[in-house]
């Protein structure tokens, strides 16, 4: 299974980017292979609107089946849920720590968006 984690860095020591829609990129970690790829999210930097939706599309297309992020708005949540992707909110210091929390079953899947949309 693959998990996508929002980040501005490029290694497992990097911190989480608490924003989902406007995160710089996603680190997509393969739990079986223990390898990862980096998926760029910069199409959203200058998007007129809909950053959350586009980020969700990027995550779905990466093959990830779960997402770990800080804040996820209602439209991104709708898209991810429709694709059957579990969303976890986490404020760990690094991607590695977040993955560990997930492996230990410490993270609960979100039932709803945890921030308001930005109407842009």
């Amino acid at each position: 299974m693959k998990i996508a984690i929002s980040t501005s860095g490029s290694t497992l020591d990097a911190p989480l980017d608490p924003r989902f829609g406007r995160a710089v990129r996603f680190l997509v970690y393969d739990l079986e292979q223990k390898t990862f790829t980096l998926v760029d999210n910069e199409q959203n930097l200058n998007a007129a609107q809909g950053a959350g939706i586009q980020a969700a599309k990027t995550v779905v297309e990466s093959g990830a089946q779960a997402v770990i992020s800080g804040h996820c708005g209602p439209k991104a949540f709708t898209v991810l849920s429709a694709a059957g992707i579990a969303i976890y909110h986490c404020n760990a210091d690094s991607i590695a720590a977040a993955l560990e929390q997930h492996a230990n079953g410490e993270l609960q899947p979100a039932q709803d968006a945890n921030v308001e949309g930005h109407w842009v």
Binding site: A51, V60, K75, T78, V79, A82, A83
Partner: protein, 289 residues
């Protein structure tokens, strides 16, 4: 003639002036409240509305039996209002700008338009003591983000034969621009304060970029300093009228009474100003022919 009353800064007296101009008029006039986020004209006109219509925008609806999830709709959409994710196509109607692009581009004809209500227009004919004011009020539903479609719907009620006074939204971005577009003349209302001057300059830049003839009315003259007047002189902008700062006006306004109720002596000055603007507009139209 289409006469728009606008400003950069909010709260300078657009509605106050628009209502007073309509009430001072001795012939048939339309007063269109285009400040659809916060329409206030009705407070002073006290209309008995006789017609109500919903304003809708067209948003896409999907026939899933025809959809192949090819993704072309999502590709053309600039607003993320429709997006195809693997094997489903989702619509976020509050993001939709009603451009019709997705419907045009769909190779399977799987999308059609449906109406979504975003606001309404209320109209009242023959208002005012002379029964000569047709009042049209546009209102955007609370929670809806975009006002331009409602503003355009209000402007479609303009009758070409009469004087149409448009009470416009504040600012210089899309709602104000949608309201003033196509006007014959724009009156920019300001106050003689640093905020008033700063925002007036933005409004003037906007008028010049749209090539619209305009003039300035200073409201609450005397409450601040002379920099607005000096600016108008230096920029050769017609200073059409100065309404003095008078607590009677503030008190009357607070009770929902118009400018002319506090200062009836202004009525002939307002009529003269409209007459003057009207001749400028005619001369300009003749010049262009």
């Amino acid at each position: 003639m289409k006469l728009a009353i606008a400003s950069g800064k909010g709260g300078t007296g657009k509605t106050t002036l628009a209502v007073a101009l309509a009430q001072a008029s001795t012939s048939a006039v339309q007063l269109l409240d285009c400040d659809v986020e916060e329409p206030n004209g009705h407070i002073f006109i006290k209309p008995e509305f006789t017609s109500h219509e919903d304003v809708t925008i067209a948003i896409p609806a999907l026939d899933e039996t025809l959809c192949t999830n090819c993704g072309k709709c999502g590709e053309i959409c600039q607003f993320s209002a429709i997006v195809t994710i693997v094997n489903q196509t989702m619509i976020f109607s509050d993001m939709c700008h009603s451009c019709g692009g997705c419907i045009l581009v769909c190779p399977e004809n799987a999308l059609h338009e449906q109406a979504k209500g975003i606001g309404c227009i209320d109209s009242a004919l023959g208002c005012g003591t002379n029964h000569n004011i047709d009042f049209i009020k546009g209102t955007l539903d609370v929670g809806q983000a975009m006002s331009p479609p409602v503003i355009r719907a209000v402007k479609r009620k303009i009758s070409p034969a009469t004087l149409a006074i448009l009470d416009c939204p504040p600012g210089t971005s899309c709602p104000m621009i949608t309201a003033v577009t196509g006007s014959d003349f724009v009156i920019l209302v300001t106050e003689p304060t640093p905020f008033g001057l700063h925002d007036l300059k933005l409004a003037v830049e906007t008028m010049r970029s749209m090539d619209l003839p305009f003039g300035v009315v200073v409201n609450r003259a005397g409450c601040g300093d002379d920099r607005v007047n000096d600016y108008c002189s230096a920029e050769q902008i017609p200073l059409l009228l100065q309404i003095p700062d008078d607590r009677r006006v503030a008190n009357a306004y607070s009770r929902g009474e118009g400018l002319l109720e506090a200062m009836p002596e202004l009525a002939p000055q307002l009529r003269a100003m409209v007459q003057d603007i009207s001749s400028k507009v005619v001369i300009s139209a003749e010049g262009k022919q």
